[in-house]
């Protein structure tokens, strides 16, 4: 089947909704109201959490807030990285769990063998970036990102399983206590989370690469026609995500002092949930790292509140899944309204 109009089509996935920012109708009532409507899902969640927090007295204790932040940090660092993929129109990565596990295992085995720790960090980042470039290259060539990352995750897991024989890797007493340290009473991972979010926000808003990523996701064909380097931009998105995953893996591996094949095995889904709850459009072109960071905090807080109220693991999962669904549905309804 050949469609001549395919050359000027806005979306290549066959979805009916144009996602170009210019597609909004001119008759918007007031900017304040529009801004409120756009943030309705997030406001709804914040309100929901406020109620939940009020009925949970233990919530406000310093130890608990620290626990939430530490949980949000790992998901958040990777969610911020994933935002680049999502913004560029490549949805989410399903290889995040396995890549994070790879980072943790490689880092621990490097320092366990007495390597210089800075060198170990550099090696892990370089390795993860290489894995990311391989995936980004395939996606840039035109393969579906979900398929590529699904396959990449299986390959990474298989390779690590072969190399470690499924055993647990420990730090062998290497002095990596700094990773679990809490300068000024706040876990190191939270500082990294804040720094990563800040850098990513600047990168998205103020640099050429950031604008390219957004344009690529907003409208692939017009990005192509305006001569944007699509392949390079796509690969950059995967590189940035890989750096995030490497940092998260090092923080988790270094914090726990051990890692095995099951380390971080829920990360892919948690990160996808955080990005979706944050409200970054999965079709690309609309979103920000900050939103994903907030999404990670919302997910971590919701989990914590449910934990404090004695909800079982299953109920907590249902809770965070429903949170994702509610936000996704609200966003869809909202977009339907602006398109109509």
């Amino acid at each position: 089947m050949t469609k001549p109009e395919a050359m000027i089509s806005f979306s290549d996935e066959g979805t009916t909704e144009p996602v170009a920012p210019g597609a909004e109708p001119p008759r918007s009532p007031s900017p304040v109201r529009a801004a409120l409507v756009a943030r309705a899902p997030l406001l709804f969640l914040v309100a929901l959490l406020a109620v939940a927090i009020m009925v949970t007295p233990e919530f406000g204790t310093a130890a608990n807030v620290k626990a939430i932040l530490a949980n949000a940090a790992i998901i958040g660092i990777v969610a911020v990285g994933t935002t680049f993929i999502t913004l560029s129109g490549n949805m989410v990565s399903l290889a995040v769990s396995q890549s994070g596990m790879l980072a943790a295992v490689v880092f621990l085995s490097c320092v366990g063998h007495g390597w210089n720790q800075v060198l170990a960090v550099v090696v892990v980042i370089a390795l993860l970036v290489a894995v990311g470039i391989a995936q980004g290259g395939l996606v840039a060539a035109g393969l579906n990102p979900i398929v590529v990352t699904l396959a990449a995750g299986a390959i990474v897991l298989g390779v690590v399983a072969q190399l470690t024989g499924g055993s647990t890797i420990t730090s062998h007493g290497a002095d990596i206590g700094w990773i679990a340290s809490t300068p000024l009473g706040i876990p190191l991972s939270v500082y990294v989370f804040a720094a990563v979010t800040g850098l990513a926000t600047v990168l998205t808003g103020k640099t050429v690469l950031g604008r390219r990523l957004t344009l690529l996701g907003a409208n692939r064909s017009s990005a192509d026609f305006s001569g944007l380097p699509i392949a390079r931009t796509t690969i950059w998105a995967f590189v940035l995500l890989s750096v995030g995953i490497a940092l998260a893996g090092i923080l988790v591996g270094g914090g726990l002092l051990s890692a095995n094949l099951d380390t971080l095995n829920t990360l892919s889904i948690d990160v996808a949930a955080a990005v979706l709850v944050g409200g970054t459009a999965i079709q690309g072109g609309d979103g920000s790292p900050l939103r994903s960071a907030v999404g990670a905090c919302v997910i971590a807080t919701a989990n914590n509140v449910m934990l404090l109220n004695g909800f079982s693991l299953g109920v907590r999962q249902v809770g965070s899944g429903l949170t994702v669904l509610i936000v996704v549905v609200m966003l869809a309804l909202q977009r339907g309204r602006t398109v109509r």
């Binding site: 001549p4 909704e17 396959a151 390779v159 889904i269 999965i282 109920v315 965070s320 869809a332």
Partner: protein
Amino acid sequence: MKRLTPKLGRLLPYAGPATVLIAVWIAVVISTPSLRGESGGYVIALNFELVGLVAVGVAITMVAGELDLSVGSMAAVGGVVAIKVSNAGLVPAVLAATLAGTLVGTLQGYLIARLKINSLVFTIGTLIVLRGVAYVIARNEPLPLSNFGAADILLQRWWFLTAGSIVALAVFVVLGVFMSSTRFGREVRALGGGRTEAEAAGVRTDRAIVLAFAISATCAGLAGGLASFKDGSAVPWAYPDLLLSGVAAALIGGIALAGGRGTVWNVAIGVAILGLLSGALTAHGAQDSLSQLFTGALLLIIATAELGGRRLRARRLMRDRSFGLAAEPDA
């Protein structure tokens, strides 16, 4: 290129995957003496029981131009549902798991169709929710099957077939006829071929989407129910890799992720290829993760080859039509 007769032309889409299947079979027969003869058929049949059922369901959502990521969790729910009501006997319990899938899938499809949500996004949400539901039903622990007698028939083997694989093959045949010879099936295919065109042609797109997701979750529920009876227990954290296997089988068999192309027979070939591969790896004493590695690698190779083929055809088309109107053909 010479024009083929219509009958041969219809077989053409199976040529690539079938060649891969034959090549893999030859490699397996040479490398693994224990899988010569009917044992080869047996490992293929085993793969149909779980992976095959899930793959055919996922493939139908892919043909519709969508993707159901929640099948692994749905199979886990099917598993715990079946064991939970296992005292009613094998058939009622598996039926309950299947119906649970139908219910979930219909609701999911309805919401995706009505709200016009990207199915990837929505099914990431349901993937989390359903996993939680499995935990809640099982009260966070493995559920053992108490009446072992009920599962006996699933463990028997006739020639190279098992009861589970016969059920799975029956599902393949029913879905094959359904997709090729009924109005509903054609609507699902038309939807994936081009949504705007399908709507213009009067296809009820909402109904087609609901149908695709209902089929997908039904198959996953059935697969989970059968597998948990056969294993003698259900764990709520079961099947984390089922999505990969299902999607891989569909794509390796020749289903296009962009939608509109492929039949259940493509899926059958893909399931057979993966069955032989994992059977051979197991025979050589490899761990499960190695078979995942091979599945992932094969998936990437096939997807790349398919993309290359598509590019080549597009270039040829551009050259043939010098007026250059042809953009990328829709696979």
